[in-house]
Symmetry: none
Subunit: 223 residues, 2 copies
DNA sequence: AGAAATTGGCTCAATATTGGTTCAGGGAGG
DNA sequence: CCTCCCTGAACCAATATTGAGCCAATTTCT
């Protein structure tokens, strides 16, 4: 039997990590525990963990413990936290990437019932008499298109964008950029998108959505 | 068994919350009760609850109790929760939308230093002797490309994907799909992307990245 | 209205956990 | 014999948990 050296322990550790066992809190057991579990001295285990540390797989803090990088639950919350500072310009850029694709997916995947829901949101938005109502059904129109994209991840990203858009920097911006004329333009552009969806034409749907988003961006960011 | 720390309690709490046990009043038990139930001191439970508070999962009122939030932060947490169930197929679809764009942005926006960082990650990945190391620097390569895309929102979405990819359903899949031959292919594809970035050629960078992602998807989902 | 109980907010000293470091010894292989 | 690496132990410094007490806001009971 080959002798156990630190680098062997390191690869054994990596295997354990890959097994996902410690993913939960992103924290791996104390060196002393690991050492006894693997049947080696703490010194050896320390050197093994040091390999992982050099690789960047792991970070250590005196008194706190050793943590997997980019996996701890706090990081998820941190991501969301940082997202709250997203600039409208950045988000609009990404919307122009995702939303035409969502429209394209919807054109091929949506059920008749789902398309009806999209049409309904469009109709109510067009008939809305005040800005909050219009805005709500405008958002709903976009949301329902994502809803029939058949991609859960895409849907959740849109939910994120939706939440972010209801926060501080957007609120004023939307108010500033709104006008009766623009509402009319939005409605007709939505109509174009909707028509493409009903024709089951992914390419047109994607193009129409992109055109619409460019209009929105122009109004919002004032170019 | 490793010691129970506040963050562990926090994740345990989150589980209890998402199990819907306290949904009725939207109120969770007093700290003192929770502390004794989980077998920790009140101070520790307080710190655990503070995590949830920071995340916005919960609001506290002196004399009244602690309540689940029905507003923005909670829905944000819900989004994150639902995202954890994202299927690899869905995510790969979105990666193919976002990552070529990131590469394209990077080609035009990256500083020379940032490109060096990308090259460095590529080099280490190519020289890696074992799978975890390769995987780490492979991920780092992609991450650094996003890092110089100059779009904060895009970067954060990628952070999300990165975290999700470190969770359960992906682990086996990655292990299954790995082979020495494939590693070689990935390295050469990365090289193509890197070359395009260094040439400052957005179009080629985007195409190369897309081609790479299609390879990854094929290997991962087994077509 | 007023008293009592409940509940979160806060502080503090004592204790425990955990990574960081060092050192003396032992065993395997050249 | 010498080198290399592991073992075992002790101690340090950073951080966390404990357990207790008191306060302030709120609710509930009298």
């Amino acid at each position: 039997m080959p002798k156990l050296v630190a680098s062997d322990i390191a690869t054994a550790l990596k295997k354990r990590i890959s097994s996902g066992e410690w993913i939960e809190n992103g924290r791996i057991p104390p060196e002393r525990d690991l050492a006894s579990e693997f049947g080696v001295a703490r010194n050896t285990m320390r050197r093994a963990v040091s390999f992982l540390e050099d690789e960047g797989t792991v970070v250590r803090h005196v008194g706190r413990g050793t943590f997997l990088t980019a996996t701890n639950p706090a990081s998820m919350a941190a991501v969301v936290g940082r997202m709250e500072g997203t600039s409208p310009a950045d988000m609009m850029e990404i919307r122009q990437l995702l939303e035409p694709a969502a429209a394209s997916f919807a054109a091929t995947n949506a059920s008749a019932m789902e398309l009806n829901a999209v049409r309904e949101a469009h109709r109510i938005a067009c008939e809305a008499q005040d800005m909050p109502t219009f805005e709500h059904w405008d958002a709903e129109f976009h949301h329902r298109i994502f809803a029939c994209s058949r991609n859960e991840f895409l849907k959740e990203i849109h939910n994120l964008m939706r939440i972010l858009r209801n926060q501080a920097p957007w609120f004023e911006m939307k108010k500033r950029s709104f006008s009766e004329e623009r509402r009319g333009i939005y409605c007709s552009e939505h109509q174009t998108v909707l028509d493409a969806l009903l024709r089951r034409d992914p390419e047109s749907a994607s193009q129409a959505m992109l055109a619409h988003l460019k209009t929105v961006e122009r109004n919002l960011l004032g170019r």
